[in-house]
Symmetry: C2
Subunit: 371 residues, 2 copies
């Protein structure tokens, strides 16, 4: 079959029905000024000829691409891929498409790929920043052209942005207090680079919990990772356990390093959670696979993706002040598993302790940044 024949257009339908293309267009869009018989005839023929609207032509004319762009560091990480999954679903349900792009945590690539997304005239952009990024000038392209940008997870330390996030401070605070509640008194922290706000907040939530409970803040127990990789987690845990006064609890800024901490401790014959309690962050699938199962802070990835799309839609519909900030804060909760739960009979199914957050509703909300 020579199948390079061109796709059916409204002109084809118009010609066959002896009406004008505008009538076909209006009939298909159920415009009020078209008669019922004409509408039916047009629809019937469209169906018969397998007509499908050309979204490109429509976008050009209406200046609305109905396409969201997503820029993330890596799309094959559990947290991000789930976020994208949620965003895709919310976008589809609202008649939008999703273009993806990854920065590999590299600012240059982030910048280049943002240009491409802009060239596609995306309706809105959803971004999780590259680890490297501390200069946000490359987002000016979108701001200057009135294209909404919604940050998720990793966002700039500024007030005039839209974002969907969790309260990293209180999440970290609760994770740390969870360890304290288990009897830990020397709690270490393996954190991420503090130039990224989320890691700074997790660090300060940890500090705040220690202080509130009158525990010593020992700088030698606070380590800063650059990539939060498995290898780094292993190395940093070694360092902690080599400490003259080793910790009895570790709060890790992600699950990858949390798993490394468990493995490292196990290899030294340290009993978990009796001698060392460990909690991670994200609630990745590996938490349930590792032995003992890793406690973690549940990070609502899919919901974040959906919320980001909903927020972008709200901005586009003018329901939100485009000019000002707006932020949606989603709930997190500590998932206590055997790696930290000293009261739990680990032979039983892992129980789930949900610590409510004092925060914000589910769907949307406008919050003020602290300070």
């Amino acid at each position: 079959m020579g199948n390079k024949k061109k796709a059916v257009t409204i002109h084809d339908l118009a010609e066959e029905l002896n009406v004008s293309p505008s009538t076909v267009s209006r009939a298909l869009n159920d415009h009020s000024s078209i008669g019922k018989q004409t509408k039916n005839a047009v629809r019937k023929l469209a169906e018969a000829r397998g007509y499908r609207p050309n979204a490109i032509a429509s976008s050009l004319r209406t200046n609305r691409s109905n396409t969201f762009g997503i820029m993330a560091p890596w799309i094959n990480r559990p947290f991000i891929s789930s976020l994208i999954s949620g965003a895709e679903e919310a976008a589809r349900e609202s008649g939008n498409r999703v273009i993806i792009s990854q920065s590999y945590d590299n600012r240059e690539l982030e910048k280049e790929n943002l240009q491409v997304l802009y060239d596609s005239r995306i309706s809105a952009l959803i971004v999780s920043l590259a680890m490297e990024t501390t200069d946000y000038s490359h987002f000016g392209l979108f701001a200057k052209n009135g294209i909404p940008v919604v940050f998720v997870d990793r966002f700039p330390a500024r007030n005039d942005i839209h974002k969907v996030h969790i309260n990293n401070f209180s999440a970290a605070f609760e994770a740390t207090e969870h360890l304290i509640g288990q009897g830990c008194r020397r709690i270490a922290h393996i954190g991420g680079g503090r130039h990224q706000g989320i890691y700074e907040d997790r660090w300060s939530g940890y500090i705040a919990a220690l202080k509130k409970n009158n525990l010593l803040v020992d700088e030698s127990l606070i380590l800063q990772a650059t990539s939060l990789s498995a290898e780094e987690g292993m190395r940093l845990t070694e360092q902690l356990l080599d400490n003259a006064h080793p910790p009895d609890g570790i709060f890790c800024a992600n699950d990858t390093t949390g798993v490394s901490a468990i493995r490292c401790a196990k290899s030294r014959g340290i009993k978990i959670p009796e001698e060392l309690a460990i909690i991670g962050f994200n609630d990745d699938p590996i938490c349930e696979i590792i032995d003992p199962p890793l406690s973690s802070v549940h990070h609502p990835a899919i919901e974040m993706g959906k919320a980001a799309v909903r927020q972008a839609l709200a901005i586009l519909q003018g329901n939100l002040e485009t000019e000002s900030e707006s932020s949606v804060t989603l709930d997190t909760y500590v998932v206590a598993r055997a790696s930290s739960d000293r009261k739990m009979d680990s032979a039983l199914t892992a129980g789930i302790v949900t610590l409510e957050e004092e925060n914000v509703p589910d769907n949307s909300s406008a919050g003020k940044k602290k300070k």
Copy 2:
């Protein structure tokens, strides 16, 4: 700032330079018929005004959207998200964008979302079929309009398609022979629905390995899962272990069920791999997390994504007969870990045994379907 101002177009640049839009267009595209001075002037002004081409307008005129569509069951599974990651990279490097869509393993949703992708006039489609899908008529839309479709992983049982895949038969054959090499004599199989070719091939590879080694094919040790979920894996493993003559090895069609098999066996006090050797499929990250680490068949997810894009590009450039079949087969290998390696000192770092496949090159190849 009232920032709803319209984006800069070639008309704006043309007016400012007192040349025609066509000259601007040709200058930016380095057309030979434009003078050097004019080119420089145009480029300089474009830079200064922050001009960025409108990809939508360009697509409409040239009839090339430079966009690939990806349809997958779930984008937040390790294998798929890695595949997408590879596809995104290869697409970007060739100047293309990527639109994603998920079917949630539901044929109806798959069909609806394929329409949306078609409406976007994607240049080519990359698909991993929904588990449910056995009727492929909804792909006719693309075939009729000359849009290349490349199947990855799960593909239709037909000859006239393009696909990127692994040799599931030989991969399963090798996985099974690996267990046999470890001394297993009663090997069970937890497989997927055989209406999906890949699971049928894994099953037949397993059977072939048993027969070649003169082992009994016991139907009571061959179970067919519908979702290959963790719960299902648990249930089916229970069933195997309750067998009057329980197996001494299990070959699972994915890692999720492989992990379940390990857990189930451990909960019964069965020694792994001494009493029961287990191997999964995919080489997901969880394989290295579970204790003991799960042996698996390495599935080159990122490479499959890249290969799919490359194949689509080749078709678009006419380097491949669009009319006929074409398939790229990628290499797999068995990753032996402690869950099956009876010779390995499990106290040491997990060794990696690579069994070479007798198959095909890396980049591309045209293979003939068997039968």
